[in-house]
Point group: D2
Chain length 124, copies 4
Amino acid sequence: MSVPPPKGSQDLIEGLRDKLRQFAAEREWDQFHSPKNLAMALSVEAAELLEHVQWLSDAESAALAPEKRVKIREELADVLLYLIRLADKLDVNLATAAADKLSVNAQKYPVQKARGSSKKYTEL
Amino acid sequence: MSVPPPKGSQDLIEGLRDKLRQFAAEREWDQFHSPKNLAMALSVEAAELLEHVQWLSDAESAALAPEKRVKIREELADVLLYLIRLADKLDVNLATAAADKLSVNAQKYPVQKARGSSKKYTEL
Amino acid sequence: MSVPPPKGSQDLIEGLRDKLRQFAAEREWDQFHSPKNLAMALSVEAAELLEHVQWLSDAESAALAPEKRVKIREELADVLLYLIRLADKLDVNLATAAADKLSVNAQKYPVQKARGSSKKYTEL
Amino acid sequence: MSVPPPKGSQDLIEGLRDKLRQFAAEREWDQFHSPKNLAMALSVEAAELLEHVQWLSDAESAALAPEKRVKIREELADVLLYLIRLADKLDVNLATAAADKLSVNAQKYPVQKARGSSKKYTEL
């Protein structure tokens, strides 16, 4: 079922992964970076992202003030960095995992059934 | 302060971004994909990841049973897919954002002060 | 299946519910307090709680420094306040709901099967 | 700054706290119930709540289908149960903590400044 990721695709992820490894090694942070702790950190960063949009309307969330956009950009980066670090610790190839998941989603949500609906696949 | 991302780095992100655009377009899902809703979905996926490790010890979370690892790999993929979709809707370049954030983190957590400590930079 | 809540039990919840109603009315905040937005706010507060313990060991999380305990106490309060507000908007009686859920949990996790195990009921 | 909770208010919380203590003791679950793990469980339950409303409009989230409302009622109960269990482990009186936080909020959000605004107090 594994779909090959687009060519050259691992460059970004692998580059950041290596920098994060070095970053943690220099600070002796591997002792804190259990998958459990990293999963918590990821969840906390995702919630910080959420905090920026929680009281906005959908339309407002799509037309953010520049200073808010700067902060959200930082939260998006934090999520990506923890995600890469966690995947590294679990020895998961994110590029392949994402390509596989897209295939699964295409099966769960066939166009004919899912069009215009926000229902979960179990309710379609 | 912007650091150039590693060469060729956008391939994976851009490839997935384009597939997600097509996926949503075919299903007429753009109506649901406000940044607000996507931030919620990201947070929900991060929590599903968390659920898999919540009662484990740190050591157990680093030595997962194969069937649990398969599920966690799917959740990691879900987080990446929503992250890319959200960044696309906000017109944020994830590669550049992550590189910038790493520079910020290096300043917030200088090696001498942060070594061996899990404290937040505001408490170092 | 509904189990009566302990006598007099609604006092606290109802008292806080009424204060929160007044608080929101005075500030004209009902326009923001959709169940969707309140569920987001609850989730954000829960993550702020999590942030305080994310890098701690289990033992450290049980022996918090006094200033950290003060902050966590505030986050616990925030979670309770949003929970009560959300339940009010959904017309859910929290006392009865909690008593019912305890009964459900007792059936899902019979003592003989669940003793000493952290597995989910679906895996017991 | 501590405001007395309404009279008789601890009945519900204390009743559920005692039942949860017994529930955990019978199943030998105290070994898993570190504040850290309980904070994770609380966060996971809050996200499950969120999942039920994530693709709904604000109006739809206020007019839930009966079967969805039943599920959300269960999630609300789960959040309350973990919240009480966590507060117990941290020796925090939720009733007093909530009353205190309401006072703090009243100061952070004076009616004149906060009326009709969803801004955070730091931005008012």
